[in-house]
Subunit: 249 residues, 2 copies
Amino acid sequence: MPHHLIRKLEQFTELSGSDKRALKSAASTQRRFGARTDIISEGDAPLHVNLILEGWACRYKQLNDGRRQIISLFVPGDMCDEHVDALREMDHSVATLSPVNVAEIARPMLSQMIEEHPRIRKALCWNVLVTAAIQREWTVSLGQRTATERLGHLLCELFVRLRGIGLTQGNSYALPLTQGELGEVLGLSNVHTNRTVQELRRTGLIVLKGKYLEIPNLAALQAASLFNPNYLHLDHEGRDFDAPESELS
Amino acid sequence: MPHHLIRKLEQFTELSGSDKRALKSAASTQRRFGARTDIISEGDAPLHVNLILEGWACRYKQLNDGRRQIISLFVPGDMCDEHVDALREMDHSVATLSPVNVAEIARPMLSQMIEEHPRIRKALCWNVLVTAAIQREWTVSLGQRTATERLGHLLCELFVRLRGIGLTQGNSYALPLTQGELGEVLGLSNVHTNRTVQELRRTGLIVLKGKYLEIPNLAALQAASLFNPNYLHLDHEGRDFDAPESELS
DNA sequence: CGCATTTTTGATCAAGTTCAATATCAGTGG
DNA sequence: CCACTGATATTGAACTTGATCAAAAATGCG
């Protein structure tokens, strides 16, 4: 069930009952992957669209000499490469981090849904734009922010994204990444990532135990990380397209 | 005249005479900007789509404390934010680097063109995907590549992009960026950017005089920078949609 | 309990920043 | 054509951030 996708899209615009049923039926073909497994590999021809139902995944690219950069993080409700069918082959890989449940959505199915449900089309379009904005923000982080700001910024972003789909508990959330993987996101070595985690711990900005993160004072962490959530465009920006009362069921 | 855009799109699929005329008429409203001027500023509501006809521009983001990161480079034929009308306000700014000529394309005009010219729609879709792939590659560069590799990689990318639109002369092209601006792209200080330029000069991989760059041995620079052009998807990937012979005029 | 992975620590090293000064260049006005 | 000016490029030296290497401690899991 694409609960998280529905929840995510509803941050933009309220969907009708019919919209939601369409999303549910589109996500009916499911598949399970273990942790640290490629879902799609660089060089593959893109087939269906993968919608993450449960678990975390990432986009990554590996350089010839082995260095690896994680380019994006996917959490439940995220879709991997919704439009790459226009391209012949993947220029990057997608892999799971934790065990993952994906829905494999056939492209014609997706096209048909978009055709028949203009509200979904708009919401997915918004989603694509926000995904691009996140990528840009990561560019800024890697280019300008210090290690501490970078880590703090990422943890703020994930908090906001996860809260939007109901995967936070109070000021906490499950973060199923090792410090090594966090380093691959942040462009830092695992050793320095560890020291950066400790720095944020020492200043009381985060409590990270095992795979569980708590942010005691979000505003403080945001300020320390120069985090401005505007790029996530969460202010119900598609409210003009909300489904009418009568169609909500 | 959107020569460069047409040339760029034709790397993907051959356009018909009618396609090209549509693009030309869409790009009829022109505007000129001096160097280092904002075309759109963060916080603005996006209006029309800006198509760069001549000159170079960039997307950038400025942090509260003044640090600036250039997020993308726009060269002739590039469009800024073709789909952001779904968002309420810009989360970044777009500014010129050199003096720039832009065509301001009204959104309804763009929608209509896409509606009436499926080949243009496909080509623009490819263009959006390649733009996203470039952004991802920059993430990899900033996260994993050394200063030298980063600079080399950027110069290779620009060479390939510019060659695609006919803006290279042999193995050279005009590069209207200061070293300071180059640094803002690469996430390096101007001082270190200068030293990195000198390093590439010393090893004979580039000849950079003023605003003019020569790459004596592209393959060598590519190898030194771990540059793989696959992410630019230039292999005429849309050949299946080429306009028929009869419609080329 | 035992093994593999992950986290943590210490020490050394390299890459890149900062600050400050100098040199070069392009354009401007005379 | 030349001197003047502001921006850009270049150099040197000291400093900081983060990487690397290696080992130890903690954790998780079968």
